[in-house]
Amino acid sequence: MQNEWVNKKYQESKVFSQEYNQSKPFSHIVVKDFLLQEKAKAIAEALQQEHFTEKEADLFKFKQTKDIDGTKNNILQEFYGFFSSPKFLEYIEQITGVKNLKSIDMSGFIYSDTDYLLCHDDCLEDRKIAYIYNLSKNFTETDGGTLQFFSVREKHPVKIAKSIVPTFNTLILFTVTRESFHQVQEITSNKKRLTLAGWFHG
């Protein structure tokens, strides 16, 4: 089933398990051209047809879908099935070294002008690995919307250590810990940042 979805060069998880654990400021990986191109395009088109609801609190402002588990769209259903399959969970375990992943959740997100997600660590219940699969195109640093990782001193985030500009068909994974502080920088243009994101639970 992996063959039907994942770019051929990434079929083997060994390709990046070492890189994952050596990355700074905490274990993560950025996998460019993650899915087969036609799959990524189909998912992006389908996701834009889903219903998004405005969400706002102290920590964030963005639009979000319900869990993709409940979608009526075929391609999204199939993608959810693949992403939550035991075989794919095993693949993620091999990359990250985190064992006993049991389930996932997945929502679609749109960040538009002035939307943001402030610095937090993601720690909650049984979240083990966070993922962001980016489906927006043509972003540059001046548009905002970068995913930013913080370095930590005395348990608090003190400095932005890495900024990742969203690129189409890129998967980002990181291990959720008390120190995995990250944020999505405010969008400062009229571009839309479209992602599927959630967690692998264990």
């Binding site: 102290d58 943001y116 608090h156 003190v158 502080f181 405010e186 400062t188």
Partner: protein, 194 residues
């Protein structure tokens, strides 16, 4: 010079007005009141003049807050220490105010505070005294009082005093200031009445 009329616009100081403000505070949910054009014009002029010379310093713990703060200006220091002010506020909120703890804050683009996971034991009444002109709500920067959901939003507005009694599960935060604010900053005194 610690007459109450030195500080507060005389309009607010008539007995029936003070009573009406007190009643309004008790009736509002959460218990709260906003007094617009509250300080005497001369005090505002002094404060605005002093604010122009304030030395702002960045305050930054990314998972809690990012904003600037400065030492209280001479007039604001006197305001917080004023027995007359404490006496008037005690009447307004029907509770003996012995101390005003306050911080002078400035919020510009990309500044914010967030609520804490652990709700601190409640310690008094939150107050704000605002010195911001021409602010737009859609820029953020307002103070949001939340108890499961937002119960009160205090918009930045020049010479406005806000008092809010935060019940057990209530917290507040200053909303992220987005890029539409450009170079504008919200400047206000925020603290607690104890």
């Amino acid at each position: 010079m610690d007459e109450i009329s030195h500080w507060i616009d005389p309009e607010f100081l008539q007995t029936n007005i003070v009573q009406a403000i007190h009643q309004q505070f008790q009736m509002n949910k959460p218990k709260s009141i906003q007094l617009q054009q509250c300080l005497h014009t001369n005090r505002i002029k002094e404060i605005m003049n002093e604010l122009g010379k304030a030395q702002w310093q960045e305050k930054k713990i990314f998972d809690k807050y990012v904003y600037q703060t400065a030492t209280l200006t001479p007039t604001l220091k006197k305001f917080c220490a004023s027995a007359a002010i404490q006496k008037l506020l005690s009447v307004l909120v029907a509770s003996k105010i012995k101390k005003i703890d306050a911080e002078l804050c400035s919020f510009g683009h990309a500044d914010y505070t967030v609520m804490q996971d652990e709700i601190p034991v409640k310690k008094g009444i939150t107050f704000e005294l605002d010195f911001t002109t021409d602010w737009k709500e859609e820029w953020g920067g307002y103070t949001s009082f939340v108890d499961n959901e937002e119960k009160l939003r205090v918009l930045p507005q020049m010479n406005t005093l806000t008092l809010v009694k935060e019940e057990q599960y209530m917290q507040h935060f200053v909303k992220y200031v987005n890029h539409q604010a450009k170079e504008k900053r919200r400047i206000f005194l925020q603290g607690t009445l104890n």
